[in-house]
């Protein structure tokens, strides 16, 4: 490879007085690691427009000196393998989501050039929402939309951009607007939005239009380099294989059939001022939800004898599993900890199993997801069996029944059983079983102060009778566990042993 490059360089100096005017862009890899053989060819069909579009983009990236700053987002479609060809940063994303991924990339790396390369099935069908919203937000990305009026990779199904009357495998008698609607004109559609800066439609139909496409691609990238805003170039492109035409005919078909339906034009070319005032108020979550700052409260400081604690709470939907998690998180917040609460919603919510993850930490929390909890609160047998194996060795399981199932052995963890539902029933409301579990959790782990939990409950529960039951339930849970503590424990000021 290196030798070849050297020889090309030599050619540039002298080949009978000729020098290289146009050759393969440095932005393409010298060889494509696509397959063991065919390392020098793209996978595109003969005469495919993708190759030309790739070439124009690569040339623009090279000429603008952006190769080491560019991140290309490959779509799903024939051009899914763009990352085999472009020697730039590459990301391949889910179908239609390129503008969403590009948004994230650009916001995370504002100094990079982020390019979304998409086909019409990708951008105009499954990804319609993503492109419309990315354009509407005026993301400072560039989208190249290669429109060939058909689903190419999957074998020629009708696309949103298929022309009226055009035959495809799913419109075998030609597209009929009465049944399948009209072709979607993405450039015009996006040009109705306020935020985009540059929108043009070009075609790879003949020499002249290819050179116009070359200028449009370059301009779109220049706009992104200048940080002006959202740029979008729609490229009408031949698909000889699926159209059933030879490459030359296919190119003519672009000129004769596609361009009349998709007129070439610059639909938007202006600088857009997007107001950047109205900075959001810089408040902490604790301030927003009404939790006071730790320093301002007069409650006794609770000693948190952990750095971070992952708690998984599981049970049947309706048992108050998610609420218990929220209660824990808010209590932690009031005590000045970093907290997170991640519920599992979905069809499991009613009379199925539901669970949530709670992190309590003295440091910033990286992920709210807990795959290996320190503490599992299992309100029923199903949840116990499902999650017991995930608990870290030395961790604690608080099980909401009187006994463990006889066939279940959990030697690595400490298991505490409490008949929470029975206790709640005796107190007068089966609903407070989760608060009984909370009491058990507090007494067993001492992760948070019961006084703060009561403060949170007082703020949340408006019904005084129910609040009283909650108070009793919390005490009952603590008392039950307290009676199980080892001999020699020292009774604390609140009457419970530690």
């Amino acid at each position: 490879m290196a030798e070849e490059r050297v020889s090309v360089g030599d050619l540039k100096v002298s080949t009978n007085g000729y020098e290289i005017a146009h050759s393969k862009s440095e932005v393409f890899y010298p060889e494509y690691e696509r397959k063991a053989d065919l390392k020098h060819q793209t996978h595109y069909c003969p005469g495919c427009g993708h190759g030309v579009a790739h070439k124009l983009i690569a040339e623009a990236i090279e000429d603008l000196g952006l190769q080491d700053q560019t991140i290309l987002v490959s779509p799903v479609g024939c051009s899914v393998f763009a990352y085999y060809y472009f020697d730039v940063g590459n990301v391949q994303v889910a179908h239609g989501r390129a503008p969403a991924a590009a948004t994230g990339l650009k916001r995370a790396c504002p100094d990079k050039i982020v390019i979304a390369y998409q086909g019409d099935g990708d951008l105009a069908a499954i990804g319609t929402a993503e492109i419309v919203h990315a354009a509407n937000r005026g993301e400072k990305i560039t989208v190249f939309f290669v429109n060939n009026a058909i689903y190419g990779m999957t074998g020629g199904q009708m696309a949103p951009t298929t022309l009226v009357g055009q035959k495809s495998t799913t419109s075998p008698w030609g597209r009929r607007p009465v049944n399948e609607g009209f072709p979607l004109h993405m450039a015009e559609l996006l040009a109705t939005l306020e935020a985009p800066v540059y929108i043009e439609r070009v075609a790879l139909s003949d020499n002249k239009n290819i050179m116009k496409a070359r200028r449009a691609v370059r301009k779109a990238l220049e706009i992104q380099r200048a940080g002006t805003g959202f740029s979008f170039v729609e490229i009408l492109s031949p698909c000889p294989t699926i159209w059933g035409k030879d490459p030359v005919e296919a190119r003519k078909w672009v000129a004769e059939k596609m361009i009349p339906s998709f007129p070439l034009n610059v639909f938007r070319d202006r600088k857009v001022e997007i107001p950047t005032n109205n900075e959001p108020p810089r408040k902490t979550v604790a301030e927003l939800v009404g939790g006071a700052k730790p320093a301002e409260t007069s409650r006794p400081q609770h000693r948190h004898h952990f750095r971070d604690l992952g708690i998984k709470i599981a049970g049947f939907g309706g048992q108050g599993v998610l609420l218990l998690g929220q209660l824990l998180a808010e209590t932690g917040m009031r005590e000045g900890l970093e907290v997170s609460w991640l519920p599992s919603y979905g069809p499991e919510m009613r009379s199925g199993s539901a669970h949530c993850h709670v992190c309590l930490s003295k440091e910033r929390i990286g992920s709210p997801l807990i795959s290996r909890p320190n503490v599992l609160v299992a309100m029923n047998e199903l949840s116990l069996r499902k999650f017991a194996a995930q608990v870290l060795p030395g961790g604690i399981i608080i099980y909401g029944r009187e006994h463990l199932p006889e066939d279940l052995a959990l030697p690595q963890v400490q298991v505490v059983c409490i008949p929470a539902s029975e206790i709640a029933d005796k107190l007068g409301s089966a609903k407070v079983a989760n608060v009984v579990m909370m009491g058990a959790l507090l007494e067993e782990t001492e992760c948070l102060s019961p006084a703060t939990v009561m403060q949170v409950l007082e703020a949340k529960v408006k019904n005084p009778a129910l609040l009283e039951i909650d108070r009793k339930a919390l005490d009952a849970g603590r008392t039950y566990i307290d009676h199980m503590v080892a001999v020699g424990a020292v009774t604390q000021a609140d009457g419970f042993a530690q």
């Binding site: 002298s14 005017a21 000889p240 490459p247």
Partner: protein, 96 residues
């Protein structure tokens, strides 16, 4: 074939036979019509494009019409002729 022909021509091109898929777009696009598809088949079973050996202006249109990134290399005569009106290549040749 690419190389030492047409010492008078302003341009020259070389085509990588292993990369060419024989789509014929360059042959169709070439303004001075100096490209053709070979009669022989390449190892991939296609008729690759080739330079007839005369008339290349080095305009580069074939390069931009070719879908393969590296199939075509276009050369131009090193000292460009001064103020020669563009006769071949059409109105857009100047833009190249």
């Amino acid at each position: 074939m690419p190389g030492k022909t047409a010492s008078q021509a302003r341009g020259n091109i070389s085509i990588d036979v292993e990369e060419c898929k024989g789509c014929g777009l360059c042959v169709e696009s070439c303004p001075p019509k100096c490209l053709e598809l070979a009669h022989e088949l390449s190892s991939y079973g296609v008729h690759p494009a080739r330079y007839t050996g005369q008339g290349c202006t080095g305009c580069g249109i074939c390069f931009y019409c070719c879908p393969e990134p590296g199939a075509i290399i276009v050369y131009r005569l090193a000292p460009p002729p001064k103020a020669v009106p563009v006769q071949q290549g059409g109105e857009h040749a100047a833009a190249l």
